[in-house]
C-alpha cells in the first residue's frame, strides 16, 4: 500500500507492522509524532500492543527493559536530552542481552536549546552495545524497524537495535512510502520464543554482579555477539530484499565508479550531497559518495573496500566532540589505516544549520585539491 508519510509515521508503521506488544514512551520534539501516531491507533484499537506513557525517558527505558525481559516485543522512540536521560539503561539493556527496537530522531543537544538535528545525541550511544542503523529515507526507516526486530531477536544475537533518523529534515519530510502488507511482515517476522526470560513459574536472576575476569567475559561475549551480527544483518537484509525488492547494505555507494574523491557521511543530508555529486559528475568531475548505514557494529571491511581506489576523502561530521573533532572522522581513518589517502574532516550542520548542494560542491572541490589532511568547520 503506497501512502505519503513522514519519517515519524514510518517508524510508527514499522512498530505496527512488527506487532510490537509494548510501547513505553515519553514524548519529545521531534519524536512526539511517533508516539502520537501509535497512541491514536491504540485509541481506535488498530494497535493491539500495550501503550504506556511514563513520567520520564528514564522510566520509559526502564519499562522497555522490564517488558522485553518477559519476552515481549518492545518499541520506543526518543531524541536528544531524552536519549541522554535513557542512557543509564542502555548498556543494561544490551548487557542483559535484551532485544528491542528504539527509533532515535536526532536533535542537537542542549545547551543552548536547539530543536533541529545533528548527530551528537545518537552518536553518544555508540558504546552502549546497541546495533545502530542510521537512515536516509522514510522507506528505510519503516523497513529498518521491521528488519531490526528480526536481527534483535535472533537467538545468537539478542541485542537491542537503534534505528536513527534526523529530526525535521527527515522526521517531518513526507514522501511516498510503501507500507508492506501485514501478511508479508507476519511471514518475514515470526516472534521467536525466548529461552531466557522472566517467568514467575521459573524464577531466575538477570543482571547479576560479576567482578574482574567474570565481568570481562560478559563484555567479551557482548562484543562477540555484536561482531557476529554482521552475518545476521546481511542475511536479514537479503531476505527483505527478496520479499520487497528493496536492497539495503552496511554501506551505500553512490556514483563511486572511477571516483577520485568522495564524501563519506551519515544521515538525511546525504540526499543533498547526492545532488551535489550529480551536479559535479555532469561537469565530468570524478566524485562519489559513501553513506554509512550500519554504524554499530562498524563495517570497517566494507568501508575499506568501497574507498579502495579513492585518493581524496572528505568525512562529513554533523556532530562535534569538543576537544577532539568529528566523531566519524577517526573511525573512517581507522578503517583506512595503512593506506595512502588524504582524508579531511568537515564539521557542518550542527543544530540543523542549513546546508545546500553548493556547500557539498565546495567541499568536494576542496577535497579534490587537498594535498594535506584538513580539518575544517563549514558555517
Amino acid at each position: 500500500m503506497i501512502d505519503i508519510l513522514d519519517g515519524n509515521q514510518c517508524a510508527a508503521w514499522g512498530a505496527r507492522r512488527a506487532k510490537a506488544q509494548c510501547v513505553p514512551c515519553f514524548p519529545i520534539t521531534p519524536t512526539t509524532e511517533i508516539i502520537e501516531t501509535i497512541a491514536a491507533w491504540k485509541a481506535k484499537n488498530e494497535f493491539k500492543g500495550e501503550f504506556v506513557q511514563l513520567e520520564s525517558e528514564h522510566s520509559a527505558a526502564s519499562a522497555c527493559f522490564g517488558a522485553s525481559l518477559t519476552g515481549a516485543r518492545v518499541f520506543t522512540a526518543t531524541s536528544s536530552q531524552g536519549l541522554l536521560l535513557m542512557h543509564e539503561l542502555l548498556p543494561i539493556i544490551s548487557g542483559c542481552r535484551t532485544p528491542m527496537v528504539m527509533t532515535t530522531v536526532s536533535r542537537c543537544l542542549s545547551a543552548p536549546i536547539g530543536l533541529w538535528p545533528d548527530h551528537n545525541d545518537t552518536l553518544a550511544m555508540r558504546d552502549a552495545g546497541w546495533i545502530m542503523f542510521i537512515c536516509e529515507t522514510n522507506q528505510e526507516v519503516l523497513d529498518s524497524v521491521i528488519m531490526g526486530y528480526k536481527i534483535s531477536e535472533n537467538n545468537k544475537i539478542l541485542l537491542p537495535v537503534i534505528v536513527n533518523m534526523d529530526g525535521f529534515v527527515h522526521s517531518y519530510t513526507r514522501t511516498e512510502v510503501d507500507i508492506p502488507e501485514q501478511k508479508l511482515v507476519n511471514s518475514f517476522l515470526p516472534h521467536p520464543k525466548r529461552e531466557i526470560r522472566l517467568d514467575v513459574k521459573k524464577p531466575m536472576t538477570l543482571g547479576i554482579p560479576a567482578m574482574g575476569l567474570d565481568y570481562m567475559k560478559f563484555r567479551a561475549q557482548l562484543h562477540r555477539a555484536m561482531m557476529d551480527s554482521f552475518d545476521v544483518i546481511d542475511k536479514v537484509q537479503k531476505e527483505w530484499a527478496k520479499l520487497t525488492k528493496r536492497k539495503y547494505d552496511f554501506v551505500e555507494e553512490y556514483k563511486m565508479k572511477g571516483a577520485k574523491a568522495a564524501i563519506v557521511m551519515i544521515g538525511a543530508n546525504t540526499t543533498i550531497a547526492r545532488a551535489a555529486v550529480d551536479e559535479m559528475r555532469k561537469k565530468g568531475k570524478k566524485v562519489g559518495l559513501l553513506r554509512i548505514r550500519l554504524f554499530r557494529p562498524f563495517p570497517e571491511k566494507q568501508i575499506r573496500k568501497a574507498l579502495e581506489k579513492v585518493k581524496n576523502i572528505a568525512v562529513i561530521d554533523q556532530n562535534i566532540c569538543p576537544g577532539m573533532g568529528g566523531i566519524l572522522y577517526p573511525e573512517i581513518k581507522m578503517a583506512l589505516s595503512g593506506t595512502k589517502k588524504t582524508i579531511s574532516n568537515y564539521i557542518q550542520g550542527l543544530g540543523g544549520n542549513f546546508i545546500s548542494e553548493k556547500d557539498y560542491i565546495a567541499i568536494l572541490n576542496d577535497a579534490i585539491k587537498n594535498k594535506k589532511e584538513e580539518r575544517k568547520w563549514q558555517m
Binding site: 505519503i4 530543536l115 525535521f168 529534515v169 527527515h170 517531518y172 519530510t173 513526507r174 514522501t175 511516498e176 538525511a268 543530508n269 540526499t271 543533498i272 547526492r274 545532488a275 550529480d278 542549513f354 546546508i355 545546500s356 548542494e357
Partner: protein, 176 residues
C-alpha cells in the same frame, strides 16, 4: 524538479498547505516531497514549508533556496525577506487585497476574505491553493479537491466542503 516555498504564520495552515499540495501533485502523477520548518511551535510566528515535485524522483531535501513558486499566506510578513532566492522565472502568489510595496510582479487573491466568509476564520491555506492550481496547470482543481478530502480526513467533512468551496472561489478570482 519544481519547487514551492510557502510562507505564513503559525495557525494559518502553512504545514498543511504543503501536505495538501504534495498530495494533489501525487494524484496528478508526480513524485513528491513536503516538509515544514518551524521552531518552538506557536501561533502567529513565521512558519515556512516546502514542496518538491518531479516525475522522475527527487534527489535533494531540506530548505528550498531557489523556489520556482513562492506562496505567501500572510501579507503582513516581511516580504523582502520571504522573496529571497527568487529566480527570473519564479512566480509569486500572495494572499492580499492591497497593493504591496514590492517591485516584482505577483499573482494575488484575497484568500483571507474568502476563507473568513466560507470558514468563519482566517485559515486561508486551502483557499489560496485554489489560486495556485490556476497558475500551475499540471495539478487540477479535481486533484486538489481529492487531496483536501484525504488530508483533512473523514474527521472534518464540513471543513473539507467549506475549504473546497473557498478554493474554487480563489481559483476563479486569482489575478496575475
Amino acid at each position: 524538479m519544481i519547487s514551492v516555498r510557502i510562507h505564513g504564520r503559525g495557525g494559518q495552515g502553512v504545514k498543511k498547505a504543503a501536505q495538501i499540495l504534495a498530495r494533489a501533485a501525487y494524484l496528478a502523477g508526480y513524485q513528491t516531497q513536503d516538509f515544514a520548518l518551524y521552531g518552538a511551535e506557536r501561533k502567529g510566528a513565521p512558519v515556512t514549508s516546502f514542496v518538491r515535485i518531479d516525475k522522475k524522483g527527487i534527489n535533494t531535501r531540506g530548505y528550498v533556496w531557489e523556489p520556482d513558486f513562492i506562496i505567501v499566506l500572510d501579507d503582513t510578513l516581511e516580504l523582502s525577506c520571504h522573496l529571497k532566492g527568487r529566480k527570473k522565472t519564479t512566480k509569486e502568489l500572495i494572499n492580499t487585497d492591497q497593493k504591496l510595496p514590492i517591485k516584482v510582479p505577483y499573482c494575488h487573491v484575497d484568500a483571507t476574505g474568502i476563507a473568513v466568509k466560507e470558514l468563519g476564520k482566517n485559515i486561508p491555506n486551502i483557499a489560496l491553493l485554489g489560486g495556485f492550481v490556476k497558475i500551475f496547470k499540471p495539478i487540477t482543481l479535481e486533484n486538489l479537491e481529492k487531496a483536501v478530502e484525504i488530508e483533512l480526513g473523514k474527521k472534518h467533512p464540513e471543513a473539507t466542503k467549506k475549504n473546497i468551496r473557498a478554493a474554487k472561489q480563489c481559483y476563479d478570482k486569482v489575478v496575475c
